[in-house]
Symmetry: C2
Subunit: 257 residues, 2 copies
Amino acid sequence: MTQNADPSQSTTKRYRTPDGVPADIVMFTLTKRERKTVTKTLPIRELKVMLIRRKSWPCAGMWALPGGFCRESESIYDAATRELKEETGVDGGHLEYLGVYSDPGRDPRGWIISHAFYALVEEWMLEHRQAADDAEEVGLFTVSQALDELELAFDHRRIILDAYRQIQQQMLQTTIAKQFLPEEFTLSELYQVIQTVVPEFKEPNFIRKITSTRSRQGILEEVRNEDGKPVSSNQYSQRPAQLYRFTDHTPLLSMYT
Amino acid sequence: MTQNADPSQSTTKRYRTPDGVPADIVMFTLTKRERKTVTKTLPIRELKVMLIRRKSWPCAGMWALPGGFCRESESIYDAATRELKEETGVDGGHLEYLGVYSDPGRDPRGWIISHAFYALVEEWMLEHRQAADDAEEVGLFTVSQALDELELAFDHRRIILDAYRQIQQQMLQTTIAKQFLPEEFTLSELYQVIQTVVPEFKEPNFIRKITSTRSRQGILEEVRNEDGKPVSSNQYSQRPAQLYRFTDHTPLLSMYT
DNA sequence: GTAATAGTGTCTATAAGACATTATCCC
DNA sequence: GGGATAATGTCTTATAGACACTATTAC
């Protein structure tokens, strides 16, 4: 079949058309819990995903990704943006397309083709949800909890798994780490964020590599005040640490060079 | 709106549903043209994309990506696989998902949400198309021709541009180069293929880097015969060159290490 | 002072980058 | 032998990787 086929004839039931095209969002957040130690230290961070317990058929009682159906007047991305806004009550948060989930029978309601997104939001943005719609149960789970311990609706386990892999890859190959950090941060914080999302990541000489290898120079820049003096912070350590921020530059990686 | 909304009620016209969900394929091929020189040399390679000239409304006369509508009994990926098979007459060819294109009004026929794929096929696979359906005009264009010189249907220019960027990135970060090469190949061939797809790629010491840096050791392996002797080929050069093949290993790249 | 984390010194092995040189074939 | 491409030698500089060491703060 080629695209010359005319689906406007679907009104005459010549073709079956989908029953709905939702956008589902894997909402990640990096929780930050202060440690109650005698001395200054980095908080404990954990990667979590927000899920909603379904109340009605289908998959009643199971945990599912927040989502909503796309309207004719908007693109799928618009729908996801709108949904994210409705869930968090604020604009903002990093939203990215993940993929399409269209296996026949994936949704007992009919021919439902779902578009998955993942969002990186701040923890406080999720509190709105709990207040706004207290009729629905909302949960924040670690990724391994979600994947291994919960009963998930539809093919949402697969989606969460795909999103997790995607975010891990992006954490290493792009600068999305900035979504989980304040504008200015220390290198220990950055390292901790990377390790929280990608536990396998180990780099003993992290500070030195970032600061003194030319090929990585462009990624970060030192924060300086008006006088050009380096700015540091002792929020998380006894000895103050230099603050950095991301530049706009993302290097193009290659396995051949 | 949350996913509790029930789209099965769309039969009662409570919700508008899409009029069709096609899969469109950006079919890339790397053409290979022998040079008529006195001495052995690499062929001229060019990255091309296959397009079809539309005969009927909408966008009649314009060039468009091959594609077809998805059926209820198959996933989008299935539909693309089927379409690729119909276009080329053979199974095979690398097929990968690119993204969803859903801007309102992108297709005058109605609410049509298109899913773009890109395929890497061999040149001979495209000849079938010309023979099979000679009623439709088929064209092979370089990417810059397609982007700059042709009048393209729908949002297909955007799709081709996205696919081009994607394939360039993948050429450097994955081993898709193998899709454009025979099982066994020389390093000059590999280098040429990379450069054809990513003209900016320059690496004077390419051979040495591949063969003598530990971090890249895993990507390729030397071809050896039964006796363990290295196998070389003089197909494209006077002095025979060592043959290589890709291993299953694709390194995980990181901008921080 | 001590504890704690930030950051540097130092040394070795490996890799990058730029050329020059040699090797192996075709003609 | 001459021409062409493959592959290695060589030299300089940069980076990786491992640890020991110094620096700056809190308490």
